[in-house]
């Protein structure tokens, strides 16, 4: 294990840390390795085994090295052919956990992250075995003061299908670094992220998808609705190795700017070594569509109601292609409740 205190700290010239420096999401000071407690992880309908910490490649990433230093155990989940609901509760000053999924059959897992902790570290890893299908949803509803550092490492084997949906609603400062490797031929990964920026939330998602084998497919959709003085960052790094011929990959980042003070960055990056591939990326930032507003207001909705409906639609649309019904419905339901509370509050 690499010692965090011996590791070199990243500079802002690194793509990964350009928009959210490590110092802004470290729980104390960057030259410290503070005591970090355990996240509470429970499921009503599945067994989660607590084992000695699994050895996961950290790739010299400072956030992973940090988590590797402060987490002592791994929560292992082997989902069965159903939807597993996992509650992740964060209390206290600083808490963290490593959760690992071994997927051997078609299954869905819904994570619901809540709590008041000042700092939360969450490392999700998983292996989607050959011919297996895994759908994972994560809803972040941390308190409005929390800082979240999330790192993911997923591996999809031959003919495996993996979809990952994230609904980011809570927390003050969020840094997510989600990496998926398509290591087996004919494997598929679809990822969907919806961000609701409000207040002074800073939400930074970095998504790496690595196609290593031929006939692999990936699709990434990131929709961020930014209100007040919030700031959303979406950076994508799509890599297609020279062996990954006949890959089909696409990334779309869309930002909806709801106030003049809201900011959004969307930076998709491609590195394509193979020559017989389809790879597309796009990014767009825009305010609310005037025609849509007029249409809704002509049906009796006032400006606030029409805006809320368009924001909800924009974010719900992030998940329209999620194939797992339980995951898609859970995301959409929580989103609706969240936005209705915002409208009332």
């Amino acid at each position: 294990m690499t010692s965090y205190l011996d590791a070199s700290l990243p500079t802002r010239s690194e793509h990964l840390w350009r928009y959210t420096p490590w110092s802004r999401v470290h729980p104390t000071k960057v030259d410290e390795l503070p005591a970090v407690g355990e996240l509470v992880i429970e499921s009503d309908n599945a067994e989660i085994k607590l084992v000695s910490k699994k050895n996961i490649e950290h790739g010299n990433d400072i956030a992973r090295i940090f988590l590797d230093n402060v987490v002592e155990k791994t929560h292992v989940l082997t989902p069965e052919n159903k939807t597993t609901h996992v509650q992740i509760r964060a209390g206290g000053h600083a808490v963290a956990a490593h959760i690992h999924i071994e997927s051997t059959q078609p299954s869905s897992v819904m994570f619901h992250l809540t709590g008041e902790a000042e700092w939360v570290g969450l490392w999700l890893t998983g292996n989607i075995h050959s011919n297996s299908q895994l759908s994972v949803g994560l809803i972040n509803e941390l308190s409005s003061e929390s800082v979240l550092v999330r790192t993911d490492n997923w591996n999809v084997e031959r003919d495996g299908e993996f979809e990952l949906a994230t609904l980011s609603l809570g927390g003050q400062r969020i840094k997510s670094d989600i990496r998926t490797t398509l290591s087996g031929s004919n494997s598929t990964h679809n990822q969907f992220i919806a961000v609701h920026g409000h207040g002074t939330r800073h939400d930074d998602h970095h998504i790496e998808i690595h196609h290593q084998q031929p006939h692999t497919n990936s699709k990434l959709t990131v929709n961020a609705a930014c209100d007040d003085r919030s700031h959303s960052v979406g950076t994508g790094a799509l890599t297609i190795d020279d062996a990954a011929q006949h890959t089909d990959a696409g990334q779309v980042f869309r930002n909806l700017l709801l106030s003049e003070s809201a900011r959004a960055e969307a930076i998709p990056e491609l590195e394509v070594m193979a020559n017989e591939v389809a790879a597309a990326h796009g990014a767009a930032s825009a305010p609310l569509d005037a025609m849509q507003m007029h249409y809704l207001m002509s049906r009796g909705l006032n400006k606030e109601e029409a805006t809320a409906m368009l924001v909800e639609g924009f974010l719900v649309d992030s998940f329209v292609d999620v194939r797992s019904d339980p995951v898609r419905e859970a995301m959409q339901t929580r989103l609706t409740v969240h936005l209705e509370c915002q409208l009332i509050g």
Binding site: D289, A290, M291, Q292, H294, Y295, L296, M297, S298, R299, G300, L301, N302, K303, E305, A306, M309, L310, E312, G313, F314, L315, V316, D317, V320
Partner: protein
């Protein structure tokens, strides 16, 4: 006089409207009473859709002169949603698509906004079912996103479904017949006729075929931002057969 005022829904007087500094309407006059069906015909670019949009309160249109009175009040300062809640309805020529918003959710919220309270769920479900059956619409419509991926005919049916549910006092129907096949046109026309008795209707159309099914009381010809000719249903037939040159010659 009192009788006239209670029947009068819309009175447009000497209306001049511009968009980004370009004059579109140039002194238009029009009065619609409750229970009347008016048709407006005219060449492309004459200002027909502008008239419907400005009555509904589209913020892009600037009234430079003249007034619009609705139910006896000048509505210049009324917001779009306030006009809708006061019984005004526009069936759009090109209705906006709203990704992520299901038709069922949209209809429920719209009806609640216009009626001032959410309808009881069971009653609303029945009302919706009946209206959809009248328009030969499948229930699966309700779970689709508003106008997203809809054909031209599906969009127009959804507009008429809203007309049936909202039961407006004044219905502005902007080229509701475009994109409809013969069967769909008949169904849509039946929908319009079912509300027309208690509603003032302004139908904007290019074609006689809708007016064969929805009988207008008055037909107007709009030319270069003004109504230049008004008459009975026979005027629409004449336009269908002879075009607009003869009207232009009269002006």
């Amino acid at each position: 006089m009192g009788e006239m005022m209670s029947d009068e829904l819309l009175r447009v007087e000497n209306l001049h409207v511009s968009v980004e500094g370009t004059p579109i309407l140039k002194g238009l006059n029009l009065t619609i009473n409750r229970g009347e069906i008016h048709a407006i015909m005219g060449r492309n670019g004459a200002g027909k859709s502008t008239l419907a949009s400005v009555i509904m309160g589209h913020p892009a249109y600037n009234i430079t002169q003249g007034t619009i009175h609705y139910k006896g009040s000048n509505i210049e300062d009324m917001e779009v949603f306030e006009r809708a809640r006061d019984g005004m309805f526009l069936s759009f020529q090109y209705p906006a698509a709203i990704p992520g918003v299901q038709v069922g959710t949209f209809l429920r919220k719209s009806v609640a906004s216009v009626r001032g309270e959410a309808p009881p769920p069971r009653e609303f479900r029945k009302e919706l079912k009946d209206a959809m059956e009248n328009l030969s619409m499948d229930r699966s419509f309700l779970s689709r996103y508003v106008n997203q991926g809809f054909s031209g005919g599906e969009k127009k049916r959804l507009e008429i479904l809203q007309l049936l549910l909202l039961q407006p006092d004044l219905a502005l129907l902007d080229e509701t017949d475009s994109g409809l096949d013969i069967d769909a046109l008949r169904i849509v026309a039946e929908g319009i006729n079912s509300v027309a008795q208690n509603t003032g209707c302004l139908i904007i159309t290019h074609y006689q075929r809708l007016l064969d099914l929805v009988k207008p009381d008055v037909v107007h010809v709009l030319l270069d931002g003004k109504i230049v000719q008004s008459g009975g249903p026979e005027l629409a037939l004449k336009l269908e057969n002879e075009g607009y040159d003869w009207v232009e010659a009269l002006v």
